[in-house]
Symmetry: C2
């Protein structure tokens, strides 16, 4: 009902105090085998072909094992996105500006959202799958909470005024995989058009100017 909290679930979340019980050797092996199998399946047959049975068979383990490792289908999707997710987190937490510290908060917010869209660009299907757990699923994931916290901080710094918490969720709603796919595939928007629309909204919310230089697009 909430985010998967099984073995090594914390990967994508900020490090916690007490260290986890340490993964057993066979478990680690199976995790690797499963992720590899899933990745191959995805590349060869598309995200849609990522069925738990299929992945298990391909990796040569029982289905039960897939569930113990990843909790459910969405959990598997999150795991497949984990490496990229960690790079992203590192980038906005301590990478170079404008995504990381050093740039004005408003610019960082913009960079954050644009980068988020870039990530959707390359793995939209997988992100969509990850958001599929339940209607509210997305909001419970570690990745979401981290992003949300980050935005709340930046919004406060940027002087967005009242209810930064609301605003953070609102901004993240604008970069959901579902909406993104709708815009890019059904409506045929270009990536730049989506970013421009986002900037427009941002400009209405943040006091300082949001235009000007960024991290390489639009």
């Amino acid at each position: 009902m909430t985010a998967w909290d099984g073995p090594l679930a914390g990967h994508t979340t900020l490090p916690v105090v007490g260290q986890a019980p340490a993964e057993r050797a066979d478990a680690a092996r199976n995790r690797r085998a499963l992720l590899a199998a899933a990745h191959v399946l995805m590349v060869q047959c598309g995200v849609q072909a990522l069925s738990m049975d299929r992945v298990a068979a391909e990796a040569g383990v029982g289905v039960g094992t897939v569930y113990r490792r990843f909790g459910d289908r969405a959990g598997l999707a999150y795991a497949l996105l984990d490496e990229e997710e960690r790079d992203f987190q590192e980038a906005f937490l301590c990478g170079p500006p404008p995504l990381g510290p050093g740039a004005p908060a408003a610019a960082r917010i913009r960079a954050f959202l644009h980068t988020y869209l870039d990530r959707l660009e390359s793995e939209a299907e997988l992100h969509a799958l990850a958001e599929t757990r339940s209607p509210t699923a997305r909001h419970g994931s570690g990745a979401y909470r981290t992003a949300r916290t980050h935005l709340v901080t930046l919004l406060t710094q940027a002087g967005a005024g009242a209810d930064g918490a609301y605003l953070a969720d609102a901004l993240l709603a604008l970069v959901s995989a579902g909406l993104f796919l709708h815009q890019r595939r059904e409506l045929g928007y270009t990536a730049d058009r989506v970013k421009a629309g986002l900037d427009r909204l941002l400009a209405g919310v943040l006091p300082e100017a949001v235009g000007a230089r960024d991290h390489g697009d639009s």
Copy 2:
């Protein structure tokens, strides 16, 4: 892959030219029986208990019949919301201001979104179910397209400037059932806080003031 287009699928959509082949008597009877059964099940056991098999059994028909009528689970959810949806459409298309014609476009947009939230308030679970078809499902439904078109019109009238189309989807993303449930249940926001946040964003996007009187809240 797209919205269900079976018998009487157009209910919730704007009226079309050629009239549908007219529903057969037995089909109509079963539709009523199914909706009644579904409603009872929902009231007694919650939305989660709305399984196609269960509804079919309760109504005394075969599962195949449920699928012919509603296409899929989400379609059944839409059907259950249909009456309310039609009232809503009538209200914003030709009802009294500020929702209907007569009020300034900006005020109508605000009223539209607030009313949308009020609807979520009473049937969030069902709306969430209806949005569950697939990640992009929501955006393909007749109800969504109608709302979207309406917003685009109003945004243009309100002088929202560039890319009203983007803005329409963005605003609708802020009133998705998933986000709403997250805000109300997980974060514990009050309905007014959600509306206030929305107003805040609206104020940044629409030229004219958005404050002042409305249709009875906040």
